[in-house]
Symmetry: C2
Subunit: 411 residues, 2 copies
């Protein structure tokens, strides 16, 4: 950027919220704000819409206490959008950038966002407008290429792990079947996190169904039956994105209704309790008709938006989110032109991670799925390798107790 | 109990779990275990079934570290039942009591449990068997007479308050409608707790619908429309038990399906996502057909079992649960014969509570509902009086931050 002494920066957030997007934004601000070349740091409201419409909040003018407080606050203060920029949008954004002297762009989001940034980047090059474009990884789905894991995942996984710890203890009270449906359309990381809170061999979830493996209703019913016969109860973690062998969503298999799609063409699978309810009905019918139990106590919960926005961050997730934002800012200042900021794992025990800049195109529009070594052979549970992978990310969980049942009469 | 030197005690738990039933049980054990007259403290497994079948765990033999750990553990280690004792059951239980010399019975539960204990008490009197029968209040519904609030409510309310804090921030991202359905068939205390996490005047929930007031779908749609027109978004807390003016459950009004009933004759209103989904559809249709918005982003979550079992206790709830259990034990030892142990509030600021023994019959089978002063005139929100009532019960909540939007351009 020769000849330019003072430049402005803009930060925007895109896609579904997480518990630590604000933390990433604060990281970028902290990384930029003492740099004399950055004269303004704008937060665009509602993603690229805010850029086009110049709806900006002055992030450099925010007090330290505000920045500190929002670091601990879930969701995104900058609001969001799911819009993918059209060539008309790019023209408008570049006009705004030129008008204000904005040469640094930071977008926190998932693979859609990396794609959006790549498109903006190409448009800027075409116009020969000097732009530094950085993607800051963010998604509860944990499905970005090049990342060991993404900011937002640890906190969402913490919620899911805690939810299943409670649900498994709850299920012990009366026995029966409990199904919890988790987010994750194509990647099972969040559904798998249900297993991270298990303390004993009979703790739930007893079964885990991920979108990576074809889901068979028959197999599912048999799996539930086997667990129920053994324990008199069964806790199941299911991804909202499970599909059968021909890639038809199971909700669609079990449903006659029509399903909505968002502007990226994704079918609406969250925010409805239908999949949990239908799976519960299916398993109940199976167990009752086979005479395994006369009347199965069976419930389904859909964890919905709580997974991504519950105000209980994983401390390591928050710290990494701030760190990744700072890293993006530093790379921009130190002369890098573009890229996606990713987290790589350096060591497991004690856990240690590092940040790395990778090409935007490596992340854009691609989906990382659970590696095979994290899924058991029967495709109905996770492996110890997954537990080792996930545990450092969720932060410390309260140790739960149990009675010493060896001191019992006639159990 | 003249002539009896050594007696045994039994503790059982009944009804839906809470986050602090174990804490109450530990309180009873701590209150009894140093008393020389109590030779054994049994925990009956699965409530009255465990008594009849002599499935007992030795609670006096549990180590201090086990007792300490389960105090922090949600749900009930003693398992549960919803069975109301028949006269045949009473006969069997009294036989077991006589056989072992069990003269103290402690049951933790809701109004069904108080009723069960009252029935057992009457049966013992008839047989002239000397029994001391104590009910230890417990329910997330907070609907027991004679109690300012009940153990279990504070932790469940904490979860609901946190869930809505996250949901409201989430809803800010994209705008639109969010409905969260909370437990509470006849009493709206838990649904009302959604409001306890609000920090600012525009924080959700913007509307709160309680089972205490007749629910009109028309009025609901108009309320949502008014909030949406003002804020471009709307967050709603709804009780699973809402009914129309003729006492038909709204789920039934909106539904053609059949609904299950439990053995106390209660219709199954939890553990399904149907009410949230149907209310969302209804409001969406209203706003879209009136042209308020072309396509409403609208989602419903049902908080389900997480409300009662999520492993994040309210510290004050846990302490009161332990205290109430101890109180029950002390009253039994000091010569009281029967009663229900209740919490009364002594002061609001700083908050202070006390325990009181009341007649079993005052609590048995009765339901306390939200007092009028806690519900606003429009019947679509809670009052400041409710906030003052509820806040001390949930424990400290993380302070959430927000950007200073006065430092903005063109908002």
């Amino acid at each position: 950027m020769p000849g330019i002494i003072e430049v402005q920066a803009v930060i925007f957030t895109q896609g579904g919220p997480t518990a630590v997007i604000n933390a990433s934004g604060v990281g970028v601000v902290l990384g930029l704000k003492n740099s004399p070349q950055i004269s303004a740091i704008w937060g665009a409201l509602n993603g690229i819409d805010g850029i086009m419409e110049e709806r900006f909040v002055d992030l450099k003018a925010q007090s330290d206490s505000v920045l500190q407080a929002i670091t601990f606050t879930p969701s995104t203060q900058l609001r969001s959008t799911r819009k993918k920029p059209t060539s008309e949008d790019n023209r408008k954004m570049l006009d705004v950038f030129q008008k204000h002297g904005i040469h640094y762009v930071f977008g926190a989001g998932g693979n859609d966002t990396s794609e959006s940034l790549d498109i903006i980047n190409d448009a800027a090059r075409e116009r020969k407008y000097s732009l530094r474009v950085f993607h800051v990884a963010k998604t509860v789905d944990n499905d970005l290429m090049e990342n060991d894991h993404t900011p937002g995942y640890g906190s969402a996984a913490r919620f899911v792990a805690n939810a299943f710890r409670g649900a498994s203890l709850d299920n012990q009270c009366f026995g029966g079947l409990y199904i919890g449906v988790c987010m994750g359309r194509h990647a099972g990381f969040l559904t798998a996190a249900a297993a991270l809170g298990r303390q004993g061999p009979d703790d739930g979830p007893h079964l885990v169904y991920l979108p990576e493996s074809p889901f068979s209703l028959d197999k599912f019913a048999q799996d539930v039956e086997a667990v129920y016969r053994r324990l008199g109860r069964c806790v199941v973690s299911v991804s909202e994105g499970i599909e059968d062998a021909s890639h038809t969503p199971i909700l669609q298999v079990l449903s006659d209704g029509k399903l909505e799609a968002d502007s990226h063409g994704n079918v609406q699978l969250s925010g409805t309790g239908a999949l949990a309810d239908r799976l519960v009905e299916y398993a109940k019918k199976h167990l009752e008709s086979k005479g395994v139990v006369k009347k199965l106590r069976a419930r389904g919960d859909t964890f919905g938006y709580l997974q991504r926005s519950f105000p209980d961050q994983s401390p390591v997730d928050r710290e990494e989110a701030v760190g990744l934002g700072k890293f993006a800012a530093q790379r921009a200042i130190s002369g890098d032109v573009d890229g996606s900021c990713a987290i790589v794992r350096v060591a497991d025990n004690p856990y240690r991670s590092e940040f790395r800049l990778v090409p935007l195109k490596n992340v854009a529009g691609k989906t990382r799925r659970m590696p095979e070594e994290f899924i058991n052979k029967d495709k109905n549970n996770v492996t110890d390798a997954f537990i080792r992978y996930g545990l450092p990310l969720v932060g410390e969980l309260t140790q739960l107790g149990q009675l010493d049942f060896s001191k019992s009469v006639k159990i």
